[in-house]
């Protein structure tokens, strides 16, 4: 989404247009990820795991727990950045924005590592249905994280070079909403794919 900067002095509900837009957008995004997750769930049949590559033997829960932890921490950093922005504490705001973006990059690093491991094990996006749904779903989540990292990083830079554009706390607030949303999508993905997804499956012996 574009970082729109239309500001209305007065609205019927007293709520900010941009914030309302962001929440509506997030409601819409629920359907986007909902459909992807539904696709993953309906394909959780044995045919999804042909060629012996099943989630049970591929998913690495400890590593993913780490990356989940990192993403949760980035959310905490983001919340502190927003709080700093509302206090007009630019130094704190910069610190926590940078922290958020960095933690996001670390999360993406985990994801890249995971993808690489899967490919080495022989699971690509075309190997079987599990590969198809896994890479598509987590890939689109990763794309959202990437977009968020870019957004937040640009905001971090702008605090130096164009302070008037970032002095409005609402800008940070809205970026934060997006970032937290990406986080809660991961909470769902972590549960549905990782914790529940491999439940009841043997490693690699199907069909």
């Amino acid at each position: 989404m574009a970082i729109t900067s239309e500001n209305q002095e007065h609205t019927s509900t007293g709520l900010s247009n941009r914030k309302l837009l962001m929440w509506t957008f997030l409601g819409s995004e629920c359907l986007f990820f909902g459909s992807l997750i539904a696709t993953h769930m309906v394909n959780r049949n044995e045919a999804a795991f042909v060629h012996g590559l099943s989630p049970a033997c591929l998913l690495d829960i400890p590593i993913t727990s780490m990356s989940t932890f990192v993403l949760l921490m980035s959310s905490v950093a983001m919340v502190l950045a927003v709080a700093a922005a509302y206090r007009f504490d630019v130094k704190q705001q910069r610190l926590w924005l940078l922290m958020t973006a960095s933690l996001g990059i670390i999360f993406l690093g985990f994801q890249a590592y995971e993808f690489q491991t899967f490919v080495n094990e022989g699971l690509t996006i075309g190997t079987n249905l599990f590969g198809s749904t896994f890479f598509t779903l987590t890939g689109f989540h990763g794309a959202h994280v990437t977009l968020g990292v870019v957004w937040i990083f640009i905001m971090f830079i702008l605090t130096y070079i164009k302070p008037d554009a970032t002095s409005n706390p609402l800008n940070t607030d809205i970026a934060g909403l997006y970032w937290h949303f990406v986080d809660i999508v991961w909470i769902v993905i972590f549960t549905v794919i990782y914790l529940i997804g491999s439940y009841g499956l043997d490693c690699g012996h199907v069909g």
């Binding site: 819409s28 909902g34 539904a38 045919a47 502190l80 709080a83 509302y86």
Partner: protein, 235 residues
């Protein structure tokens, strides 16, 4: 800039955020612990969903300030969320519970491909009619040549000097006995010929369509060997 943010106090306090963060970490740890200890059995799914809803709610409510904001935001977001959940559940139900009788055949498909016995020359039910083609038409040809023409190979492959063997669908086999040995290093001519009849789709020569039928089911005793002998002799 908007009037509703003028007062600065927005959402919870810093200590409250820290408390939420702590709870989130503990819950995640709890999830992983439950996953590995494997003590809850069937309840796992329900517990996991419950815990993740809790995390979800904490992030949305505190980090995204929904708890402190105008209810309109909640309605808009929750509307999308509930709709997404309902549709996902409907999908799950439709794909699992409402199959009538017969299972999805895709699910019972064998993991390894079974050879596809072509309908072409297989004559299972009518014993008396066996091999009418080769008997009735090409009775002048015997042995490997007879099998080659009788099985319809000649429809696709040409062999110079063999009547009827003019097909252009597959490669010319006039010198197959020589050529076959050169195609894959470490595979001699006989192995190559045998394998390419057994698994035609694995041995498609560049520029030809993968249309050669599987014939193994149709050979009578000795016919396969006879055919391979014949082809190998074409040097």
């Amino acid at each position: 800039m908007s009037s509703d943010h003028k007062n600065g106090q927005h959402g919870a306090s810093i200590p409250a955020y820290m408390l939420v963060a702590l709870i989130l970490i503990v819950v995640t740890a709890l999830e992983v612990g439950i996953f590995y200890l494997d003590v809850v059995g069937e309840l796992l799914v329900i517990i996991m969903i419950g815990l993740s809803i809790m995390k979800f709610g904490l992030v949305v409510g505190y980090f995204m300030h929904l708890k402190f904001e105008a209810p309109l935001f909640t309605y808009f977001f929750l509307g999308g969320l509930l709709l997404a959940i309902s549709i996902s559940l409907a999908f799950l139900t439709l794909f699992t519970n409402f199959d009538i009788g017969e299972p999805n055949v895709a699910q019972i498909a064998p993991a390894t491909p079974t050879p596809y016995p072509t309908p072409t020359v297989v004559m299972v039910p009518v014993e008396s009619a066996s091999n009418i083609v080769s008997e009735g038409v090409v009775d002048t040809l015997v042995g490997g040549e007879g099998i080659f023409v009788g099985k319809g190979c000649a429809g696709c492959h040409s062999i110079d000097g063999l009547d009827g063997a003019v097909g252009q669908v597959g490669p010319n086999l006039t010198n197959i006995g020589t050529v076959a040995g050169t195609r894959i290093s470490g595979v001699n001519a006989r192995e190559y010929i045998e394998n390419s009849i057994m698994n035609p789709s694995d041995f498609i020569v560049d520029g030809f369509a993968p249309v050669m039928p599987e014939l193994m089911g149709s050979f009578k005793e000795g016919e396969f060997k006879e055919l391979v002998d014949y082809l190998e002799s074409l040097e």
